[in-house]
Symmetry: C2
Subunit: 338 residues, 2 copies
C-alpha cells in the first residue's frame, strides 16, 4: 500500500512553520474567538503563503459542519440533470456553500433499486451536510442531514420539489380545446418514465373533463426523441380521421412533429396545431410556430437548492413541498377551429 508519503500540506506543517500548536492553527481556521490577533495574523499569513487547505476528508470526519451540499444523480449526462445543474449552480453562487455532485459508474450498484440509499449514506453524514436527491424513489431513504428530493415519484416524508407535468398537460389541452379542437393527437414520452405518464394522464383527464372521447388511435407511443416524434406523426396524419392538433410530450418529439408535417405538406399552424412540452427552453424556442408548455427544470433545481440551504441553516420551510408551475408559451397562436 501507498505509504504516508502524502506530500501535501497538513495542519501540522502550518503549525510548525508558525511555531504554534496544531490546535491554534485549527482555531484560526475555524475563526474561533480566543486567538490573539497577533497570532491570528501570523497564522493566516503563513497559510496563505504555503497555500494550505484543510483536507475535506479529515474535516468532514471530525466536525459535522462542512458547508458542502451533496447532489445525488444517477447519470451525470442526462438532460434533466444537466438542466437542473443550471439552477443549482445559480442558487449556490455567492453563498458560502460548496457543491458536490456525486454519481457512480458502478452500474451494479446503480441498477438495483437501493442505489440511492447506498450513495446517500456515502455523502450524508460524511462529507456533505445537506443533500439534494434526484431520483424517482425516495421511499426507504434515511438521512441524518437535511434532504430535499427533486421530482420524486411519490413524495413522502422528505421536502420535495415537484414538477407540474399533469397540470401542464391539462393547460395545453384546455387551450387546444378552447380553440375548438376535438381530435387531438398525443405523442407520449419514454415508456415508464413518470414524467411521461403524468403528461399522458393530463391529456386524458382534460379530454374526459371536457366530455370528449379518448381515442386510443390518437395516442402514439413516443420516446422523447425527434425521430420517433416524426414516425408517430406520420401515423397520426395518415389516420382515416386525422387529428387537427398534436400535443407532443416533449420538445424533441415536437420537432419531429413539425418535421413530419412539413414533409407531408401540412402547414403549421394552418393545417395542424402543434404544442410541445418543454423541459429545456431551448430547442423548441428556435422553431417558429410552435407553442410550448415550459416546465423550467432549471428553476426546479434553483428552488430545491434554496429550500435545502434554508434547512441547513436550521430554518424551517414555509411549504415542505413545492410544485413548480408550468407556463404556456404561445408563440404563434394555434389554429382556431370554427
Amino acid at each position: 500500500m501507498m505509504k504516508r508519503t502524502k506530500n501535501s500540506l497538513t495542519i501540522r506543517d502550518v503549525a510548525e512553520a508558525c511555531e504554534v500548536s496544531i490546535s491554534t492553527v485549527s482555531r484560526v481556521l475555524n475563526e474561533k474567538a480566543d486567538v490573539s490577533s497577533e497570532t491570528y495574523e501570523k497564522v493566516r499569513r503563513v497559510i496563505a503563503e504555503m497555500g494550505y487547505t484543510s483536507s475535506l476528508a479529515a474535516t468532514s470526519m471530525r466536525s459535522r459542519r462542512t458547508n458542502v451540499i451533496g447532489v445525488l444523480v444517477v447519470d451525470l449526462g442526462d438532460p434533466f440533470s444537466l438542466e437542473l445543474f443550471k439552477g443549482i449552480g445559480k442558487a449556490i453562487y455567492g453563498t458560502e456553500y460548496d457543491l458536490i455532485v456525486y454519481c457512480s459508474g458502478r452500474i451494479a450498484a446503480t441498477a438495483q433499486s437501493g442505489w440511492e440509499r447506498w450513495h446517500l449514506s456515502r455523502l450524508d453524514g460524511s462529507i456533505a451536510d445537506g443533500v439534494l436527491v434526484v431520483t424517482p424513489t425516495t421511499e426507504d431513504l434515511t438521512a441524518i442531514s437535511p434532504l430535499v428530493a427533486v421530482d420524486p415519484h411519490e413524495h413522502n416524508i422528505f421536502p420535495a420539489v415537484l414538477s407540474a407535468n399533469r397540470e401542464g398537460a391539462i393547460a395545453v389541452m384546455e387551450y387546444l380545446i378552447s380553440l375548438g379542437h376535438r381530435r387531438i393527437g398525443f405523442i407520449a414520452g419514454r415508456q415508464g418514465l413518470v414524467s411521461s405518464n403524468r403528461r399522458q394522464q393530463g391529456y386524458i383527464d382534460a379530454l374526459e373533463q371536457a366530455g370528449l372521447p379518448v381515442d386510443p388511435a390518437l395516442i402514439q407511443p413516443g420516446d422523447y426523441t425527434r425521430e420517433t416524434g416524426f414516425r408517430c406523426t406520420q401515423n397520426l396524419l395518415t389516420l382515416p380521421d386525422p387529428p387537427t392538433a398534436i400535443f407532443a410530450a416533449n420538445d424533441q418529439s415536437a420537432l419531429g412533429v413539425i418535421d413530419a408535417a412539413c414533409e407531408a405538406g401540412w402547414h403549421i399552424p394552418g393545417d395542424l396545431s402543434v404544442v410541445g412540452f418543454d423541459n429545456t427552453p431551448q430547442a423548441a424556442r428556435s422553431m417558429p410556430g410552435l407553442t410550448t408548455v415550459d416546465q423550467s427544470v432549471s428553476e426546479m433545481g434553483y428552488i430545491a437548492t434554496t429550500m435545502l440551504i434554508k434547512l441547513m441553516q436550521g430554518k424551517s420551510l414555509d411549504e415542505p413541498v413545492c410544485k413548480v408551475p408550468t407556463q404556456l408559451v404561445i408563440r404563434d397562436s394555434c389554429q382556431c377551429i370554427a
Copy 2:
C-alpha cells in the same frame, strides 16, 4: 458543536452485529483474501441487512484508494461544463469509479486567481484520487494524484485535452475561400475567452494564408449570444460592401445571423453563406441551411476522463496532450461564388 450523535452506522456496529472484529469487517469490505468464506458470507449479509456503507470521509483519509474521480469546475451551470458532463458521465458509466463534481459558491475564493489551486487541494489527496480540472490556468497547480486538464489556456506539465478552435476556424475559412468567397464576415465570441480569441485567430490566419486582406470592418464584436449575433449581422449587411459569407464564432450567434438575414430578406444560402462554430451540436442542428464546424465538447470530456482513468490505473499515456478535432458539417452547401 454537534455531538457524536451520528446515528449513522459505523464499521463498529457491523462488527458487533457479526461478533467479529472491526478489521475483519474491513477485510471483507476491501475484498481481502484471507477471510474464511463462512465469515465473509456472514459479514456481507449483515452489511446488506443493515444497509451499511463505509464513510467516504474516513475511507479517503486512511487509504489513498477511493476510486473517486474529482472534477473541478468554476460554474456548474455554464454550457461548456454541462456539455463536458455528458462525455464524462459516459466515460465512467460501467466502470468501478465514482464521480464527484466539485464547485464552490464562494465567489471570493473563486474570483481571485488561485481558486483552482485551493479547490484542487481540497479534492486531491483527500477524497479523490484522480482529478479533472476545467480551467484556463493550470499554471501553478500541483497535484499528488493524476490530473488531466480540460482545454487549458496554455498547456504545461499536465496531460491535457485541447480543443481545436483555431484549426476548426481555419477549416471553415478554407472551405469558404475555396468556394470563391473573398469578403467573409466574422462574428466574434465573448471577449476575453480563449475559445473566442483562438477562433478569431484562425479566421485571420486563414485569410492571410490565402493572401486575402483582413478588413476590420468585417470583424464584429459578438458575445456568443443570438441577440448580439443578430445585431452584428445587421451591421455587416448594411456595410457599403457587405460580405458574401459570415462565419459566426458559435451556434447561438449563427442563429442570430440567420434571424437578421431572413429579416433583411436575404436568402440563405443563396445570397449569403453562413457557417457557425458549434460546441453543443443541438441548437444549430435544427436550422436548415446552416453549415457548422462541430467541436464536440462532450467528446473532450469523454477523452479527458479516459486519459485520467488510464493514469489512475498506473498506465502511461500514448499522448500526453490530445487535441480533439473539429468536423465541418455541411448540411446544405454554401453558395458558390464564380
